[in-house]
Amino acid sequence: MRVVPRALWPAALIGLAFFQARCQSRLRPWVPPQEVRAKIISEATFLRTGLGDYVEGYLAECESHFQTETVVMVLELPCYRLGDRLIVTGRLTDDSVRLPLGDRTEGRIPVFDVTAAKPNVPKAPVIPALK
């Protein structure tokens, strides 16, 4: 009878550790990165997020599924300029930044974590020649 509880102890401890880790972590399920078109609407700024992280990035207008959303685009090397149009790959995080929106109101701007970015150079439309 004593052999069975002895064998169950490690399993019970591992289960308890996983349960505690799940309760305490801020992790969320993995989401694939998405590609969006963005336009930078601010200079590079150093910000503190709602979760207490200090990040460097830009305010940007992201276009996705025909909707425009203002986000804080976080890059480790801020090398773009105000007005640059980019194709950005990354993920929206659970974090946000409080910024004044005017009229004494504060808005929560979501944080977009950038993994890759390249300039969005629009191609000239192909117009068929008149016959």
């Binding site: 480790e76 090397l77 773009y80």
Partner: protein, 140 residues
């Protein structure tokens, strides 16, 4: 129980090989030989572990491999030919390519920590991580 006479030299040879293997270390990442590089960028920076690392992008003249030369020296120009010494290894870094205007957060990059850098004009610079600074100076 007497050991066979043949097994003793074999054991000695095996021990020698094990000892040599332990002492030699990996061939990549640790080389003090001078390398000739062509700078493919001006002074720039990459980010490793949330820290900005200053330096230059360069292409090795022999192997055409691309390196990031970690040095605080900012006086060299793009296209210059330099001779560098120092250890190197592959790191995951956030990089920005000026030519294409692209940013990549986790890019596998060969980083060479410059111990000594000399330009074609004979000017020589030592990096912050030079052997002397790191305490690896050869004692007389």
């Amino acid at each position: 129980m007497r050991a066979r006479p043949v097994s003793r030299p074999a054991l000695g040879l095996a021990a020698l090989l094990v000892l040599a293997g332990c002492r030699s270390g990996p061939s990549e990442g640790w080389s003090s030989r001078a390398r000739t590089m062509i700078l493919t960028s001006g002074p720039t920076a990459i980010v490793m572990s949330s820290s900005q690392v200053p330096g230059y992008w360069a292409r090795e003249a022999e192997s055409e491999q691309e390196f990031f030369l970690y040095t605080p020296v900012r006086s060299y120009e793009k296209g210059g030919r330099v001779t560098v010494e120092g250890p190197f290894g592959v790191a995951s870094a956030a990089v920005f390519r000026d030519e294409e205007g692209t940013y990549l957060r986790r890019s596998p990059t060969r980083v060479l920590v410059v111990w000594k850098m000399a330009g074609a004009d004979g000017r020589s610079d030592k990096g912050p991580a030079s052997r002397e600074a790191a305490g690896h100076a050869r004692r007389p």
